[in-house]
């Protein structure tokens, strides 16, 4: 009897445990496609209707988003719930969204990045084609045209962009002053010289972390812009030129140089960007490569005086000055029970009044420029970068699998296990496989 019980126990335990390995992928039937067959004209009454809004707003600003959505509900009678996943970055948020879409009905409206992060939702027809709504609400006149185009995937207007972010160097003035640097660099050589001076004071120049790959990538994509220049850089990103070339090797060489000269934090590859990036505010590093959101998320949240910080365009030797950038916008679930109401919510959300109420610092909406009182550094950044074109940030330029391969090569270069020339060859192999 006791043997039988043990056998059962072991058998059941083993079967359950092992079965759960296969079951944990949790496959469900793929969603079916739906597109808006007709778009209601005039205002939509939301009385008795519910919407769910999924975002990754920072904890410091989510209450402003909730307030705007509450205003919408008050105006149209609907009930909108906000589901927020702050601080997760592009590495985690899309996973949760995708799981929600596959495991249930998913949110009605969700926020998403552009490029290869947002595109799969359009390709899989999980997001609604918003072309008819864009026409109804005149988004073409309200929103920056470049941003609108950046959320057009596979011939459909998959998203309504409301944020267009550019990345640059954000620095701590006291650290630069202590290092004897009176102004931020305007050439790449000046940037290297500045790094040397900062290291001499015992401070790490660049605050960056390699966990997830995308943060330290910001440095590499900048170095690639320096060595390759705008035209070649774009061709590398779309695969029309080979990566197995001198300019790419040079960029990987510079990348390694930054590590070897201690311009990056010790153990950079294991550091979480969320932990290390704010260190420039604390003064334990000099600067980071980030966007205007850092003013709220890192500077204002630390109750630091914005006057002690500044930003600069990462300098390149090319006549066309560019920086890395990306868009973010809103998509509507193709299976939403209330697509017209959701589209109306988006129109309300991207109105200049709502954008101002949410104090959006990098809005794509005309008339919603940030206030110099609320965001002096963001306004300053926009003045410097606003007229410059940007190249697509590289974790959005490639699909995630290829981007992870790219990050792995960068990791190997920094650890010295792959030489820069080999890294260029390996990267070309990844791109070639993707192109197939």
């Amino acid at each position: 009897m006791s043997t039988l019980t043990r056998r059962h126990l072991l058998g059941i335990t083993a079967a359950a445990g092992l079965g759960s390995l296969a079951a944990c992928t949790g496959a469900t039937a793929p969603a079916t496609q739906s597109t808006p067959t007709s778009v209601a004209t005039g205002p939509i009454d939301g009385t008795g209707k519910k919407l769910r809004f999924f975002t990754y707003e920072a904890v410091q600003t989510v209450d402003m988003v909730k307030a705007v959505l509450a205003d919408y509900d008050k105006k149209y009678g609907s009930t909108t719930t906000v589901d927020n996943l702050p601080g997760s970055g592009a590495a985690v948020y899309p996973d949760k969204l995708r799981t929600e879409l596959l495991g249930g009905s998913g949110p009605d409206v969700w926020r998403i990045w552009g490029g290869q992060i947002g595109a799969p939702y359009a390709k899989a027809k999980q997001s609604l084609d918003l072309s008819a709504y864009a026409k109804k609400y005149g988004w073409g006149d309200k929103v920056n045209a470049q941003a609108l185009k950046a959320m057009n995937f596979y011939g459909m207007q998959a998203g309504a962009p409301y944020l267009m972010r550019g990345l640059g160097g954000w620095y701590n003035k006291a650290v630069l002053t202590k290092a004897g640097v009176s102004a931020p660099p305007t050439t790449y050589d000046e940037l290297e010289a500045m790094n040397d001076k900062i290291v001499a004071t015992g401070v790490t120049p660049l605050a960056t972390g390699g966990k997830y790959g995308w943060h330290v990538m910001r440095l590499f994509e900048y170095l690639l812009e320096v060595t390759a220049g705008p035209e070649l850089h774009d061709k590398l990103l779309d695969g029309s030129e080979s990566w197995d070339r001198k300019e790419v090797t040079d960029a990987f060489g510079l990348f390694k140089k930054w590590q070897d000269k201690k311009w990056l934090p010790n153990g950079v590859l294991g550091l979480d960007p969320a932990d290390i990036e704010p260190s420039y505010v604390q003064g334990t590093s000099a600067y980071t490569i980030t966007g205007a959101w850092t003013e709220v998320n890192a500077i204002q949240s630390a109750k630091a005086d914005t006057a002690n910080f500044g930003n600069f365009i990462l300098p390149t030797p090319h006549s066309v000055k560019r920086h890395s950038g990306f868009v973010e916008g809103l998509m509507i679930n193709a299976r939403s029970a209330n697509p017209d109401l959701a589209a109306q919510l988006i129109d309300f959300f991207i109105s200049p009044e709502s954008q101002k109420a949410m104090k959006v610092s990098s809005s794509t909406v005309k008339g919603a420029e940030p206030s110099a009182t609320d965001y002096p550094l963001s306004v300053d950044w926009l003045k410097k970068s606003g007229a410059n074109p940007f190249y697509v940030i590289q974790d959005q330029a490639f699909p995630k699998k290829e981007a992870d391969g790219y990050f792995a090569i960068q990791s190997d270069v920094l650890q010295g296990t792959t030489a820069p020339a080999d890294a260029a060859k390996k990267m070309q192999a990844i791109i070639a496989a993707w192109q197939k």
């Binding site: 009897m1 043997t3 043990r6 056998r7 126990l9 072991l10 058998g11 335990t13 083993a14 359950a16 445990g17 092992l18 079965g19 759960s20 390995l21 296969a22 079951a23 944990c24 992928t25 949790g26 496959a27 469900t28 793929p30 969603a31 079916t32 496609q33 590495a91 996973d95 995708r98 799981t99 879409l101 596959l102 799969p120 939702y121 390709k123 899989a124 027809k125 999980q126 390699g210 966990k211 997830y212 790959g213 934090p265 010790n266 153990g267 950079v268 590859l269 294991g270 550091l271 932990d275 995630k400 699998k401 992870d404 990050f407 792995a408 090569i409 990791s411 190997d412 650890q415 296990t417």
Partner: protein, 306 residues
């Protein structure tokens, strides 16, 4: 029992047996339904989708036969995951079991404050994995972490490392908290089992001149045979399922250095839009786990039946 089993049963007895059997199935039915719905059905679906090129989001897919399984052979990350899973299994079974047993033997003796010590050693087992990963992530921080600070304080600064930031140490560094948190459970099981071993056996062994070492091997270990079985079976299954610790601590990195089957499967299904391939990985690891586990379980049961 044997005599009862071979005696011809009357029709009434058979009906009683039948009713008893049906009753047992009836009681088991709710659990079986849950098991089929939430385990068997998704597992079969995974098996089916492993034969497709489904991206995990689109409404359509194509059957590709064994293409996904063939692709694994040439995927370098799969090779890394196989190696890492193997290492992880060996380390996170052997160390927690040996340490857990040692602690149980220690705490079963006359030790002052043993109740508090039991609590201390068992507490990591009940902490959320993500919290543990976060705590150890900070301990390993190359600049401000306690581990490097301690090394520097005792004059071993040369040994300070970016533990999670280099291929050479990242997996081992992730294993340490895994061992730490997985030691408490076997300790608890062994502790309970030790208290079931009659004291008379130790007294008799002492009278026979056996020292403590001989007593451990000839009295304690045989007395823990059934517990070994349970502990090792559970530890083996747990090791094959490794996902959360790696995901939270290293995210499979640096690069792909700490990828294991669980995380690589997740990345393919949920991030790379290669659900078919990811599910093929899930099926493969399940088959490997079955191949490894079944002979072990059978041998243990056979040995027990002797």
């Amino acid at each position: 029992m044997t005599a009862t089993a071979i005696r011809p049963r009357s029709a009434t007895a058979r009906r009683v047996q039948l009713r008893g059997g049906a009753g047992a199935w009836l009681f088991a039915l709710p659990a079986l339904l849950v098991y089929v719905m939430f385990l068997v059905s998704p597992a079969l679906q995974s098996l089916f989708f492993s034969l497709t090129d489904w991206d995990g989001l689109s409404p359509s897919y194509n059957l590709v036969g064994l293409e996904n399984y063939v692709a694994m052979a040439s995927d370098p990350v799969v090779a890394t995951a196989v190696k890492n899973n193997l290492l992880w299994t060996i380390v996170t079974i052997s160390f927690p079991v040996v340490i857990g047993l040692s602690l149980a033997v220690f705490l079963n003796s006359h030790v002052y404050g043993k109740s508090i010590l039991r609590l201390v050693f068992y507490t990591p087992s009940v902490l959320p994995l993500v919290s543990i990963a976060s705590i150890w992530g900070w301990l390993y921080n190359p600049q401000y972490g306690a581990i490097n600070a301690l090394l520097r304080a005792v004059g071993l600064g040369a040994l300070a490392q970016p533990w999670l930031g280099q291929d050479a140490t990242a997996l081992a560094a992730a294993m340490v908290p895994a061992v730490w948190l997985r030691t408490g459970f076997p300790m608890l099981l062994y502790l309970a089992a030790l208290q079931g071993i009659p004291k008379e056996l130790y007294e008799a062994a002492t009278v026979d001149g056996a020292n403590r070492w001989r007593q451990f091997w000839n009295v304690t270990m045989p007395g823990l045979k059934q517990t070994h079985l349970i502990v090792l079976a559970l530890a083996l299954i747990d090791s094959f399922k490794v996902f959360d610790m790696i995901y939270a601590m290293t995210y499979g990195g640096p690069g792909t250095a700490t990828q294991v089957f669980g995380t690589y499967m997740y990345f393919n299904v949920f991030q790379y839009y290669k659900a078919g391939y990811g599910m093929a990985l899930a099926v493969a690891i399940t088959l490997v786990a079955i191949v490894v586990s079944i002979p072990y379980v059978r041998s243990q049961v056979r040995e027990e039946a002797r």
